[in-house]
Every structure is written in structure tokens, then in C-alpha cells.
């Protein structure tokens, strides 16, 4: 307690709005104060993907306030070199839309490529045995072909480098498939590229999501990228979006998450990915020049394209004003008219944004009571973006969503109003809105401490981080997250996933969490390397062992029920059983305590 008090004093001396706000929050009831350790835990739980070994010490060294400022300015955070290494094999992360379309084509080109790959695979199956027999001794061949995948991968890894590469290149699908999640990422990606090239884009993106969350030092930026992607959700399985989704997150979302909301909104509006997802690329004025020309040469009675309301509705309902934001069906149609002509240039080749004036509705529009004069061209859509981005309804809707994700399932209205007024006063500066939220007493209120149920993604990543585990191949982790109910990038409707933590509680989800907790602690998850004994730091027997692991995984004492259950389980196992630390760690990761952040 003395230590905490000293730190607390140092803190107030450091001054600033944050410390003052925390003091104010804690003034009413002394018993409800978060102590300085809890404040650090709260900040890390809410602003990162979970507390990794060393995080608390880092925040203590920097000071909480400085650490938060760093996270709000990610360019000032030195990035973890392990991240770049981990992402290096994921080549599609760095491709332009045009390059994606060229490498992973749609239409006839795709069909041909698939047929070629299938034929190659069939041929391989027959040639492979001969090829492998030429490379390996009979024992080696048996070693890589039989037994469990983990052992087989170890056999392959133990081969001399040249042979290893030749063997991997020669493996037929039937032998290679089960090895996928066990192989190092680079080799696995080569196998997939050879056998099912279309899968590469999605695998790269999903894997990168988990790798970034686990490894990045710019944690808040990454959490915000997840939040804003979900806010401007698109669906990876909608046709062209399979290729466009990667550049969308990279170029339209991530660079703007701490910038101006209007820039973010514009970036999404101009992205081929969003235009394709919400159909705006095909929404045209039926009486536009291009359509009149088309009708002139079309068969009589053939339908010509016209307005599509999908984007016009969702940009207001979900992305800006909110469903009660005061718009009407008429506004939906008018907004859709404003965005006619915002389309995609050569969708299957270049896939670039393109404003086509010949498709645009040139008439005057009335949007939310504001006249948009005739003849504005592309400016009509730009005007709509400015109207929506600066509306008080938007300020409130965005603030509410942020507060729901970062503070509480039912965010306090005073907090939301404070954030909304920052939003309006700062021209929608999202960094300032975040600062207002973090500097608010509500953020540090003990009621909300460890109060949010983790989403599946949060649960899985936080468990990996808490164990200090290494991830050589995250594919299985992405599958586990899907089995808990959150397939990544695959929420079909534009609503995205819920920000309400409690929405994730269900029988299926809970069972998946408990099983994952045990498998992870037992080091049974392919592609993840866990060393619980290292975490136990020398303690091998009860009761010191439980305490070590509670501290290491929960950063405080476990709840009474978790503690007593684990003590009982430990008592029923032989003391110093080799698996003891593993069992305890698994139970802690599956405990109710660990499901909250």
C-alpha cells in the first residue's frame, strides 16, 4: 500500500487532466478507488489486446500517462521487430488491388487457374511417391508420412535444408493438408499457394490479424483498427471483396483511426471494397447520359440499371447518424442519388475508385433538409460526407459506439455526451475523442474494472499474450476464434459484430473457450509455442505455484471461487506432478476471471 501511495503522489505531481480526472473519479468513495496497479491493469485491458509479460513493468517505467500518450501517437512507439518478421511471409498484405486481381483473378481466368491447379494436384498424387522415394530413405519416408502431424513436421524439419525444400515441394495434397497448421508460416503458405491459390489472400489477412494483435507494440492503434473495420464492416466472402478487403483495411481504415472522422468516412466511401460490398458501384441514374445511350442500343423492354439504395441507407444508419439519427426513406433515396457515378474502374483488373459523371444524377437533391444544388457532380457525394460527418447525431452515435467498446456495455450518458462534444468541437478528431474518453472519470470507475466480457478474438489473443507464447503459425488460432462465434472478416451483414461484451456469452462459445484454454496451456494448439513452466518461474508445487500463476495470468488474486476450485483440483493431483502447472494455467485461462477484461 505504501508503494502505491508513493506512486500515486508521483502521479498527481506529474499533473495533467488525466490525473485530475482520476482523482475526481475516486473522490466520492474511498473504498471504490482503483489502486495504481489496478489503473494500469484497467488501461492495458481496455487499450490493448491483453497484458503480456513485461507490460505492467513497462507502463510503470514510463508512467501511465506517458504510456497512454504514446499509444495515442503510435508513430512514437518503436515497433516490435518480431512483427515484421512474422508478417514477412504474408505477401498479399503488401499488394495493390490491381496486383491482387492479376494474381488471384475472377471470372474465366480464375476458372482456368483452378482447373490447372486441380490437374497439377492429380498428377502430383501419382508422381509424388516416386519423387519422395528418390529424395528420402524408406525410414525417412515413413517418418514424414505416418504418425501425428506434429511428429511428421518435426521429421521434415530435421531434414537437411535442401532435401527439406525438395520434400515440401513434392508433397502431394493428401500428405500436405494435415500438416498445414503445424508448418512454419512461410512453408505453409507455399503449400497453399501451390494447391489452392485462391485461399492465400484470406489466410494472409486472417493470420495477419492475429499476428498483429499478439505482437504489435502499437496496441491501441491495432485495437482501433479492429473497432473501425467492424464499424465500416465488409464481408470477405462477397466476391471481389475477397481481394479488395486487404487493401481496404490497410489503406482506408488503419491510417485514419486516430485522425479525422470525415477522412475515414471519405476513405471508405471511395474504397472499391465498400462500393462493392454495399453495391454503390452499380447504382446509377437511370436517366443519365450513359444509360440513355445504353437504352438506345438495347433490345426494347430490356432493363437498364438504376438507383441502388443499399449504401445510401447504411452510411446513415450504421456508419454515421445511427438508426434514430433523424433521416427518412426520402433521405435514403436522395443520398443514393448523390452517390450515383461513384464506381469502380475495371473492377476485375484495376479495381480503382472512379467517378463517372456520365452515370451521375445531375438534378438537385435535398438531404436532411439541406439543398444540394443541381450540377454538383462528384461534389454531391462529398457534400453528403461533410453533412454526415459533422452532424451532432453522428458525434453521438460514434461516441456511444466507442464508449461501448472501450468502457462499458451500457456507457454512461455523461461520458458519451462529453465525447460527442469533443467530436463536434474538434472537427471529428478521433484522437481527441479517445483522449476525452480516457481522461474521463468513468473510464477509471471501479464499477467497470474487469467488467467487459472478452470477445472471442480478445479471449484468444489475450491468452496467447498472457502466456508469452510464440506464434509460428496463427491459422489454427483464427479457426478457434471462429468456433467461438467470431469468424474474422466474415460477418456478412453491415452491422458488424456487437460491441457489447455480454453478447458473446453462450453455451457453445463457453465450451469453445474452456477447451481452448486447456489445449493452449497443454501446448496442443498447432503453430503456438507455450511454456507454462517458464511462467511458473521455478515454483513447482502448491501453494506457491497457484499464486505465481494467478499473478502471471490475472495480475491479481483470483476470485474466491476460482481459487478454491483450483486448490481443490490441485489437491486431488499428485503434488509435483509434471503436468501440474499446465493444468492450473488451463483452468485459470478458462476461469470466469479470465473471460473479462
Amino acid at each position: 500500500m505504501v508503494k502505491a501511495a508513493v506512486r500515486w503522489a508521483g502521479w498527481t505531481l506529474a499533473g495533467g487532466a488525466l490525473a485530475a480526472a482520476i482523482l475526481a473519479a475516486q473522490a466520492p468513495a474511498a473504498a471504490k478507488r482503483l489502486d495504481s496497479q489496478q489503473q494500469i491493469v484497467q488501461a492495458l485491458n481496455r487499450l490493448t489486446w491483453g497484458i503480456a509479460p513485461g507490460d505492467i513493468a513497462l507502463v510503470q517505467r514510463l508512467g501511465l500517462k506517458n504510456w497512454i500518450q504514446q499509444q495515442l501517437h503510435p508513430d512514437k512507439v518503436v515497433e516490435n521487430p518480431e512483427l515484421a518478421d512474422a508478417l514477412a511471409p504474408l505477401a498479399t498484405l503488401r499488394m495493390s488491388p490491381a496486383e491482387m486481381m492479376q494474381r488471384f483473378p475472377f471470372g474465366n481466368a480464375a476458372k482456368n487457374a483452378r482447373q490447372d491447379a486441380a490437374a497439377a494436384n492429380r498428377k502430383e498424387e501419382t508422381d509424388a511417391q516416386a519423387k519422395l522415394a528418390g529424395l528420402l530413405t524408406p525410414e525417412q519416408l515413413a517418418g514424414i508420412s505416418t504418425g501425428n502431424p506434429r511428429q511428421r513436421v518435426m521429421e521434415i524439419e530435421s531434414l537437411p535444408a535442401n532435401t527439406r525444400e525438395a520434400v515440401l515441394a513434392a508433397l502431394p495434397r493428401s500428405l500436405a493438408q494435415p500438416l498445414n497448421p503445424w508448418l512454419p508460416l512461410a512453408q505453409q503458405r507455399e503449400l497453399v499457394a501451390r494447391m489452392n491459390p485462391r485461399q492465400v489472400v484470406a489466410l494472409d489477412l486472417l493470420d495477419s490479424k492475429v499476428l498483429r494483435a499478439v505482437y504489435t507494440n502499437r496496441q491501441l492503434e491495432d485495437v482501433l483498427t479492429d473497432f473501425w473495420f467492424n464499424h465500416f464492416n465488409i464481408y470477405i466472402r462477397k466476391n471481389l471483396d475477397r481481394n479488395l478487403i486487404t487493401p481496404y483495411e490497410r489503406d482506408a481504415i488503419r491510417p485514419h483511426v486516430l485522425g479525422k472522422f470525415s477522412d475515414l468516412l471519405l476513405a471508405t466511401a471511395e474504397s472499391p471494397a465498400m462500393m462493392f460490398y454495399l453495391d454503390n458501384w452499380q447504382s446509377v441514374d437511370p436517366d443519365s447520359l450513359a444509360m440513355r445511350r445504353r437504352r438506345a442500343v438495347a433490345k426494347p423492354g430490356a432493363p437498364t440499371p438504376g438507383i441502388n439504395e443499399n449504401y445510401g441507407r447504411e452510411i446513415m444508419e450504421l456508419q454515421t447518424l445511427g438508426v434514430n439519427g433523424g433521416y427518412t426513406q426520402k433521405d435514403v433515396t436522395e443520398v443514393a442519388r448523390c452517390f450515383t457515378g461513384w464506381t469502380i474502374l475495371q473492377p476485375r483488373q484495376r479495381a480503382a475508385f472512379y467517378y463517372n459523371d456520365n452515370l451521375h444524377d445531375k438534378g438537385a437533391k435535398l438531404v436532411l433538409g439541406r439543398v444540394i444544388p443541381a450540377g454538383g457532380g462528384m461534389n454531391d457525394g462529398l457534400a453528403v460526407i461533410q453533412i454526415l460527418a459533422h452532424s451532432p447525431a453522428t458525434a453521438h452515435h460514434i461516441s456511444y459506439q466507442l464508449a461501448q467498446r472501450f468502457v462499458a456495455d451500457e456507457p454512461p450518458p455523461a461520458l458519451v455526451n462529453r465525447m460527442a462534444s469533443t467530436f463536434l468541437q474538434s472537427d471529428g478528431d478521433l484522437r481527441q475523442v479517445m483522449e476525452t474518453m480516457i481522461n474521463s472519470p468513468e473510464f477509471w470507475q471501479s464499477t467497470y474494472y474487469r467488467d467487459k466480457v472478452k470477445s472471442p478474438l480478445e479471449m484468444v489473443v489475450s491468452a496467447v499474450r498472457a502466456l508469452g507464447a510464440g506464434v509460428s503459425n496463427p491459422t489454427r488460432l483464427t479457426q478457434v476464434i471462429a468456433s467461438m462465434g467470431q469468424p474474422l472478416y466474415a460477418k456478412e451483414p453491415p452491422t458488424g459484430y456487437e460491441n457489447v461484451g455480454a453478447a458473446w456469452v453462450s453455451s457453445s462459445g463457453l465450451i469453445a473457450r474452456l477447451n481452448f484454454a486447456m489445449q493452449l496451456a497443454r501446448d496442443q494448439v498447432p503453430g503456438v509455442q507455450v511454456d507454462v513452466d517458464a511462467l511458473a518461474a521455478g515454483a513447482t508445487a502448491a501453494p506457491g505455484l497457484e499464486q505465481k500463476l494467478f499473478q502471471a495470468l490475472l495480475y491479481e488474486q483470483a476470485s474466491a471461487s476460482t481459487r478454491s476450485t483450483i486448490e481443490r483440483a490441485v489437491a486431488s493431483l499428485p503434488n509435483q506432478a509434471p503436468a501440474l502447472p499446465v493444468q492450473i494455467a488451463g483452468l485459470v485461462l478458462g476461469s470466469p476471471d479470465f473471460q473479462r477484461r
Binding site: 453495391d279 441502388n308 444508419e317 438508426v323 457453445s508 476470485s559 474466491a560 483452468l587
Partner: protein, 412 residues
């Protein structure tokens, strides 16, 4: 030492008789001993707003063909129902059920709330309170909670999905199961039982107001389902489920129903109906969705065999779609839609409801099919006559439930 009690309970279960069983299990064993088989209501939600006008097609309307030049279903390809309506050809799987008189359709049904937001409209339909956002439980859960025969199996309310949908949220515990094979804890190792028991105790004793009940419901269900072997399940009567979302959900549900684990209400959903672009006509995107839908329901019905008499299945979607096709050979968000009801007690082979017509002055806001049957009147009839719930004002609060408005698709 309450923790110890749990351990004792579990280790004792294998050895001793019914005296040590949890209360609900004793009751359900008793119930089946006296032949107390329950009525079962299955709700299917088509998320994304299915285009009802291309599902049960009013081909007798001239304007249907005029307003849908590229997506209308040609008359010759429809499965004729009554000289005015016809099934989309992809619903061939439902036609035999129609011809046998088990399946009925209700057209021009929906929610009176004017919203065209998927999210709000789904919420309103699932809560059963159109226009009221503050409702935090679902109509199907309330229907159960009003059943005086309460406190039975932990499997009374089952959602075949990863999360419990709004329809099933509420006072009665509901279990979400998206994959029966994965519905077990602790793995196969020597410590599986210890792990399972520890987690059960941990959640049972937790102070956590959200996770404790979730854990309790889950472990009760786990105990009950221990005997099931979903991997080796063979559908009866040659039923073949499409290997897709709805087919898999209904297959697992049929297994639960036949295993007599106490299911009374169940929910399954199927997405992918939001066809703004290239909806297709007799073939295409909608056709593919409908084929899955019809074939899955057909397989479920076939598989149920003699349990058909216990089951009523009802389908819904948050709203319909515009009568006229949009500029991209698709349809935008509309108003009224079509619902299906299937069951042993259904007087099927008929399209129920008043047809409002498709001429422009007959349309809702001059663009959408108008509603002539409130979806709550359809559900009320099912809840009243099939589940036997009399307090319908508790199921649909604020709605004037009047049996005189029932469409009488169920035998009384």
C-alpha cells in the same frame, strides 16, 4: 464447502440411481415414464429480408411481371399452388409437404413498424414488440416462461447457432449449440473429468452475474447430452440434409428432438437473403438460397417421422423487398413478406391471408407489398394452439391479441 458438493454430485452420478440426479433430470425421466411428450415449436429466421414475392409468387398479378422485368419467375417455371400463387421452382423440396397438406403459407404478413433497417426490423420481430427498442427478451422465450409446466430440462430452449438470438433471450435459460460434436469439455485425456468438474464448480460458484448462469445452463446441458453421439447420427426415412447452414442446424435439431432431451422451442437462422444485385429469377442467387431452404426443411420433416405430430415449424424474415426491381436486377428493402407454417396440426396446402394487390395505389408507400396480417397474429395462433399458452398478452405485450383475427391455419 459447496465446491465439494459439486464434485460429489458428479462422481456420484455414475454410481447411484435417480435419487442423486439433478432435479430436472429426475423430472424428465419421470415425464417420459408417464409418456409426457411435449409439443415443440421451431422458429426459422431468414436474415437479410427474403424476397417473398419471388418465393410464393403472385403470378396472377399482371403488375408482378411489369415491375420485375428481369427477375420475375416465368409462369411456366412456377410450381402452381392455387391458380394465383406459385412456388419458386427452387422450392421443389417443399411442394410434396404442401401437397400432403402439412405446409401452409401466409402472404402479406409482417411487422407494422415502417423501419427498413435490417437490424431494427430483426430486433422488433424477435422481441415481438415492433417499434419498442427497450424490450430485452424474445417472444419465444416469453412463451415458455408463461408455461406453468416450468423448470424442466435445461434443453427447453435451444438455438442452433453460436449465440442465443434475441428470439430466445429471456428468463428461461436457453442453450446455444452450433455444433453438437464439439459440445463437450475437457478432451479425452485422463484428466478430462477433473477439468470438466473444476470448470463446472468454478462457474457454479462464481460471483459473475452473466457467466455464472451461462455456465450452469451449459453444464446441465452437457450432462444431458453426454450420451448423444452426433458423429454417427443417421437421419431416418432416407432424409438427406443439404450440407449447409440450415441443413446442419435442422439435422442436429432432429437428433435432439428424437433423443427426448426436453426440447420445447428451438431456433435456427439462415442468412444471405439481401439480394440488392443480380437476384436472379428461376435460377440465380435467390434460387440457390431457396433450394437450400426448401431441401433442409424437407429433410427435417422427413427425418422427424412419427414425431411430426409434435412439431410445428414457422419461418419469418424481417421485411419483404420492393415490388419493383431496382437498377441492378435486384430489390431494395420493402415491407410485407411471406411466412411458412409446417406441422402435423397445420391445415396446409393453402395460402392464407388477404391479398392486398400490387397496383400502385394498393402498395405500401407506393413501393412495397402492404401488410394484411400482423406477424404477431400468426405467432399467437401457433403459441396458443400448439404450445397451449393462454396468456398471449404476456407473449406479445402491448398487442391486442384477438383469436378472431387468427387465420386458422392450425386445427383447433
Amino acid at each position: 464447502m459447496t465446491t465439494r458438493r459439486i464434485f460429489l454430485k458428479n462422481s456420484a452420478m455414475a454410481m447411484v440411481g435417480i435419487g442423486m440426479l439433478p432435479k430436472w433430470l429426475a423430472r424428465s425421466a419421470y415425464a417420459s415414464a408417464v409418456g409426457g411428450r411435449k409439443k415443440i415449436l421451431v422458429a426459422i429466421f431468414q436474415r437479410g429480408a427474403a424476397d417473398g414475392l419471388n418465393v410464393v409468387v403472385p403470378y396472377g398479378e399482371e403488375s408482378y411481371y411489369k415491375l420485375r422485368p428481369s427477375i420475375a419467375i416465368p409462369r411456366a417455371e412456377l410450381l402452381n399452388l392455387d391458380g394465383f400463387f406459385g412456388f419458386h421452382p427452387a422450392l421443389a423440396g417443399l411442394k410434396p409437404l404442401w401437397d400432403q397438406g402439412h405446409l401452409a403459407a401466409l402472404h402479406a404478413t409482417g411487422s407494422p413498424d415502417p423501419t427498413r433497417s435490417h437490424f431494427d426490423a430483426q430486433d422488433f420481430m424477435e422481441s415481438g414488440t415492433p417499434g419498442l427498442k427497450s424490450t430485452d427478451d424474445g417472444w419465444l422465450n416469453r412463451a415458455l416462461s408463461l408455461d406453468p409446466n416450468a423448470g424442466a430440462s435445461p434443453m427447453r430452449a435451444v438455438a442452433m447457432s453460436a449465440q442465443v438470438p434475441m428470439t430466445l433471450q429471456g428468463r428461461v435459460p436457453a442453450v446455444a449449440i452450433n455444433n453438437l460434436s464439439a459440445f463437450r469439455v475437457g478432451g479425452a485425456g485422463p484428466q478430462a473429468a477433473l477439468v470438466g468438474d473444476s470448470f463446472e464448480a468454478m462457474y457454479d460458484q462464481a460471483a459473475d452475474a452473466v457467466l455464472r448462469p451461462a455456465g450452469r445452463d451449459t453444464f446441465e446441458a452437457l450432462g444431458l447430452l453426454k450420451q448423444l453421439d452426433p458423429r454417427s447420427y443417421q437421419p431416418a426415412n432416407g432424409a438427406i440434409y443439404p450440407n449447409q447452414q440450415l441443413g446442419n442446424s435442422l439435422k442436429q435439431l432432429a437428433q435432439l428432438i428424437k433423443a427426448d432431451v426436453g426440447v420445447e422451442v428451438a431456433f435456427a437462422d439462415v442468412g444471405g437473403w439481401d439480394h440488392h444485385v443480380n437476384e436472379g429469377n428461376a435460377q440465380g442467387q435467390l434460387a440457390n438460397s431457396l433450394r437450400q431452404f426448401g431441401d433442409a426443411i424437407n429433410a427435417f420433416w422427413t427425418d422427424l417421422g412419427e414425431r411430426q405430430q409434435d412439431v410445428v415449424l414457422v419461418t419469418m424474415s424481417e421485411f419483404g423487398r420492393t415490388v419493383h426491381e431496382n437498377g441492378n436486377r435486384g430489390t431494395d428493402h420493402g415491407h410485407a413478406n411471406v411466412m411458412f407454417v409446417l406441422g402435423g396440426e397445420v391445415q396446409g396446402g393453402k395460402v392464407y391471408g388477404d391479398w392486398p394487390g400490387l397496383s400502385s395505389q394498393q402498395l405500401y408507400q407506393e413501393r412495397d407489398l402492404a401488410i394484411t396480417t400482423d406477424f404477431r397474429d400468426v405467432l399467437s395462433e401457433v403459441v396458443r394452439r400448439h404450445l397451449g399458452v393462454t396468456q398471449l398478452s404476456g407473449v406479445f405485450p402491448g398487442f391486442d391479441v384477438n383469436p378472431a383475427k387468427f387465420r386458422n391455419f392450425l386445427r383447433v
